[in-house]
Subunit: 305 residues, 4 copies
Amino acid sequence: MSLTEAQRAEIAAHGQETFSTRRPTVAALEAMLYAPQEVLDHGFLRVIDYMGDDAAIVQAARVSYGRGTRKVSEDAGLIRYLMRHRHSSPFEMCEIKFHVKLPIFVARQWIRHRMASVNEYSARYSILDSEFYLPDPAHMAAQSEVNRQGRGEILAPEAAAEVLDILREDAMRTYRDYERMLDGENGYGLARELGRINLTLNTYTQWYWKIDLHNLMHFLALRIDPHAQYEIRVYAEAMLKILHAWVPTTAAAFEEYRRGAVTFSASMMAVVRRMLAGEVVEQAGSGLSRREWDEMMATLQAPTP
Amino acid sequence: MSLTEAQRAEIAAHGQETFSTRRPTVAALEAMLYAPQEVLDHGFLRVIDYMGDDAAIVQAARVSYGRGTRKVSEDAGLIRYLMRHRHSSPFEMCEIKFHVKLPIFVARQWIRHRMASVNEYSARYSILDSEFYLPDPAHMAAQSEVNRQGRGEILAPEAAAEVLDILREDAMRTYRDYERMLDGENGYGLARELGRINLTLNTYTQWYWKIDLHNLMHFLALRIDPHAQYEIRVYAEAMLKILHAWVPTTAAAFEEYRRGAVTFSASMMAVVRRMLAGEVVEQAGSGLSRREWDEMMATLQAPTP
Amino acid sequence: MSLTEAQRAEIAAHGQETFSTRRPTVAALEAMLYAPQEVLDHGFLRVIDYMGDDAAIVQAARVSYGRGTRKVSEDAGLIRYLMRHRHSSPFEMCEIKFHVKLPIFVARQWIRHRMASVNEYSARYSILDSEFYLPDPAHMAAQSEVNRQGRGEILAPEAAAEVLDILREDAMRTYRDYERMLDGENGYGLARELGRINLTLNTYTQWYWKIDLHNLMHFLALRIDPHAQYEIRVYAEAMLKILHAWVPTTAAAFEEYRRGAVTFSASMMAVVRRMLAGEVVEQAGSGLSRREWDEMMATLQAPTP
Amino acid sequence: MSLTEAQRAEIAAHGQETFSTRRPTVAALEAMLYAPQEVLDHGFLRVIDYMGDDAAIVQAARVSYGRGTRKVSEDAGLIRYLMRHRHSSPFEMCEIKFHVKLPIFVARQWIRHRMASVNEYSARYSILDSEFYLPDPAHMAAQSEVNRQGRGEILAPEAAAEVLDILREDAMRTYRDYERMLDGENGYGLARELGRINLTLNTYTQWYWKIDLHNLMHFLALRIDPHAQYEIRVYAEAMLKILHAWVPTTAAAFEEYRRGAVTFSASMMAVVRRMLAGEVVEQAGSGLSRREWDEMMATLQAPTP
């Protein structure tokens, strides 16, 4: 994570003011406010603001006059019920705002989640910093043989080093040329909106991103998944930690009913029922394709976490 | 506004807790939190929570590390610029949540604004109160002769009284029958989701409604308009006051560039230009329809507020 | 279903024109175009227009230059894959538009699905017909004892008849008063936007409703569910038939992976795994609440359809 | 525009089938279906499908049983009324789907319009072609001195040529390295999702993009504006032509009430009223900032097109 002295000072100054409020307040999240959490080599994620807490979900679901909460166990039961039955609207009543620094190719995946608000740093208006993502050798993988959109084996150390050299040199050269094209004195004074087209997709950008709790969990469910690209998954994992600090009851229900949950198709359910009745079922007679059979068996035989 | 003792007590109890926060806080809005503001005969509007302030808009527009604000005049200039050029995303960075009690026919107009989150009191799950909207005689108007979807003259006092009697009696009778159908002991024990279909559209419902500042202003621009039905306009007017308390700079820019602004079509602009050049233009040679001509002239000759 | 002669003639006239197009066209859906399908006592649902077919989903998923389809089995495999892994964007590439006549209380549930476009018949502008929903005695049920928002036993015939009388008389009286209040000659000439507030929630309204295929399936998954209120479920069932005519491959995948699918929570999965390993598990030692246990067992022991 | 022989053949084959339909059909748009229209050096835009026409807007606004159209002048009057008063829902009843090839930096601006559906060619799954955008020297401009996010003077021919050389060489080198990193035999067999991060932002991507008519006009209003970046504006201009072919009455109303319209703020209106009353107003006494004064005067003195 590369923050300048000036940026660190700005963040620190901002974080020191405290105010009195009658709004729902979450101590564990207040403690994390503004502090950037490192993600990837130069990226970060920090919470800028939030609205609501676990009780606000209960309050909205009950359309209450007051706080609307009852016994802790009753409130948790309601939240679990809402999550299990996909009643999404009470979760929309909480909101969170992040400041994120992330590579452009990650930003391109991220923005596909439309139910959120975004203000991105403008490279038409400003000059981007010379910061680009270089994968850690531990994550530098070959194309998967079985999954057309996934990674396979880790590259051998020597190959990884060579690939890193290529990435670094290309990013540095295109950035140097970007600077030279923009430079009004010793370069060409090119319009910023044109100069930026020379940058590589691993260049870092940053944005303010605001989303409600329901849509955040939808984002997390998709991006924490092992099939998500590693470079966006690490942002999702950082947000999941924040989720637990912010709305612990909701986060526990999310783990139970979304992240840890498994969906079986109609045909899979038929197989599971036959198995539970003691029948030995094989793929051939299961009505499932080989691929679905394998997916199902992997799930059924997975060790319970 | 009809609140039970229990509801008043709940609201009062809720409002007394204060917390320490590092989040942006608006004193003028804190002072209004939770307190129901009367709208129509039994309705209300109250702020339950909010996120962000004028500075948060500036901060997001600048994608800042710290608070991001500069001189007051510079910040105001930026907000005015964003409003004038319809840069909506920074305004999406603020959020507000209301608890609203409103007649069902108003709720049906309101819900057409899709960019918001709603939790409505469920008449499948609970029994609605016996509260229904009766217009004040001052707003009891005849069908407009010129506008197919508007009101014309106020009814004569006697006629208004008779109409009120009809409305009151019909609402009371259908409510009494609703109660009787639901009553499991002396009535029929009918399912609540069926019994409610007997209620009239002026019955009050309530909901939690959450919206971002950009979409709130869009709602206000449409619903504060004199063409909006009176019964929704009064809610919009109550929200506009809240807007001024919450984000005064933005609210001022809204008055200047949205509410007080006028849009002229291409043909109207051609006429305005001819007029400014000293030409006397009449409808016949204006290229405008009679209706558009009248609209334009009304605007041009309106007294400046 | 109550259509006037004039309405039937309009529909018939409209349906007779045919045009030549190079767009994807679905013969089975063309055959259903415009024809109203009866729902409830006076309601209907009819397809007004559509865009795309099964192949359009494949084409978009492959970002093809031409039609993009390959062998039928390959295309079906891709559609099943997209459905299984919740890749929703290719399904958004198809669109359908309905004209629906439905009771207002159903419209109020329906409109909660925000990802759709709506044009509703305006009771500010026009006068509503005297048509209101009266439940068939076979669906006239008592409040459920176990489910606070559901129906229980069917009412005894005599009680049902009495409830129907109440509903009918209240609806007729409020409608008569509505007419009288609006009537400019023998009544009060009240503004339509005010007169309508006297109508009961079972009054029929109508709208044009347009939605993409992804969001339509989301609507169907929620509203075909046995927990949905009967009066909206019948509309969903009528739409499901249309889905099968329009996009048969997608509809089959929907039945397999959405409607017929079952989701187990993390704790349920732990129990299923223990059962498959031959262990006899009881609720007490399952880690599940009684309610969740019952839900799970009902699913596991359900006869495969 | 660079299409391979195979792509041209696929497009041609697709376009030859015709079908019989009872749906609204627009001959002028049918004639344009599938044919790619050149935009920038390698990009294109082509219409893949559409739903609805001018009459469908009228039909939805009237919630008609039949076609719903009346006299041509009445229908046009209604469409103009809807456009003038920003009644957006009837325009949502038409839909269009495009296949677009565009540089990634343009795609990043474009995707900010969230009310649309997108399927993008996946560089995790497939290998991108070696195609990148190089500005025409006529559009190779220096940074504007007055507008921080705009272009100023065109570069001198020699400077433009040098900048082009830089852009071309950087794009070619990073693409060559991309290929080498991916190559499993002579290169490193790197995962596609990692290799792509080395590409520059002027690399072309492509997508299927579907949007309703209301949101399309919103997109056009923003992106046809002279303040929009040239490289996205040319796509908007190509779409505007398609708009005129598809829904000519709506397109004319769009030109009159949106594109050619001018909005004056409350303070500007006060000035215009004083001017029309014969007063000579200067910036000093106008209540407007210098910038707003200049904007207003430019509008008032613009030659009528």
